[in-house]
């Protein structure tokens, strides 16, 4: 049986460089990622921290940073009491240019059976990536209220 994982593909009218910048710059992420900073020097082996409204929600280590093609890091939730019991998972962003459009494939894997993390990120990523797409294409992020996603343990 296949392991539980989350895969989401979206197409964005931008360049791989701009998309890479949007994924790795807190100036950008704050605007489309629930006011989250992504703190890292983006070198393989370096630490990364996701900091939402000043509170660290997730930490990890950079596994791949092949600008502007592939970015991956481990992803360990550290905020919610229940979610933080789950092991670190892994996020991969693959950026593939097609003319004036970039195909972005996000893969998030390494979840435990019956855990709540998979459900949470399955609700979170479509909202984050929809907002990212809007920001890059129209200059306006889609402000999706986090509470609207109905993720257990996250408000």
């Amino acid at each position: 049986m296949s392991k539980p994982e989350f895969v989401y593909i979206t197409y964005i009218g931008t360049t791989p460089e701009k998309l890479w910048e949007a994924l790795t710059s807190s100036e950008f992420t704050r605007r489309y990622w629930f006011n989250t900073d992504v703190r890292s020097d983006w070198k393989v082996g370096s630490a990364i921290a996701l900091v939402m409204d000043g509170k660290t929600t997730d930490v990890g280590e950079i596994l791949e940073a092949d600008r502007p093609r592939r970015l991956s890091y481990t992803f360990k939730h550290v905020s919610d009491e229940e979610l933080k019991q789950e092991p670190a998972s892994k996020v991969v962003f693959a950026l593939e240019p097609h003319g004036k459009v970039v195909k972005l494939t996000l893969t998030h894997e390494g979840f435990v059976e019956g855990g709540k993390m998979l459900d949470g990120i399955s609700k979170g990523w479509p909202a984050i990536l929809a907002s990212l797409k809007s920001l890059l294409e129209s200059g306006t992020a889609v402000a999706i209220p986090l509470a609207a996603l109905g993720i257990e343990g996250i408000e």
Partner: protein
């Protein structure tokens, strides 16, 4: 074991009415669906067709299963290309207003386990729905990478994406 299905969620800064209109309007669909257009009178039980811009391909046909504007739309979907063995699957669109945006949930299901339908629709819908979002939000559409190799004769299809 659960039946195979494809589920895709996308958020669009618009109203359910406008997104529903884009899903059911032939001219709008032609723009974001790379020259392909939806064709139906949208009465439950009536015929549905996706008219394909590439003439050598047979249109996708089906039947309107649900039409509840601006909340729900469903039609059956038979591709006639051998991927579904001539048996229709089902495409359902659910629209939910969330403040000043729409949560669009697209579900493609009711195909046979082991058929090629899941792989095909898993590739197709993310691009179509990404393009729909761009069209509704900024009047832009995205082009289909696989149309590059064999450009369309009609100007309206791939050309509209440039």
């Amino acid at each position: 074991m659960s039946k195979p299905e494809f589920v895709y969620v996308i958020y669009i800064a618009s109203t359910p009415e406008k997104v529903f209109e884009a899903l059911t309007d032939a001219e709008a669909s032609k723009l974001y669906w790379h020259g392909n257009s939806v064709d139906s009178n949208w009465k439950v039980g009536s015929a549905f067709a996706l008219r394909l811009a590439r003439q050598e391909k047979q249109d996708i046909t089906g039947e309107v299963l649900e039409y509840d504007p601006p909340r729900r739309l469903a039609y059956s979907f038979c591709a006639h290309d051998g991927s579904d063995g001539g048996r229709p699957s089902r495409a359902t669109f659910e629209l939910e207003r969330q403040r000043d945006q729409v949560k669009l949930t697209m579900i493609h299901d009711q195909f046979e386990p082991g058929s090629d339908v899941l792989e095909k629709v898993s590739k197709g819908w993310p691009l179509i729905l990404s393009s729909l979002k761009s069209y509704v939000e900024c009047g832009k559409v995205l082009y289909a990478p696989w149309y590059e190799e064999r450009p369309l004769a009609t100007k309206n299809a791939a050309g509209a994406a440039r």
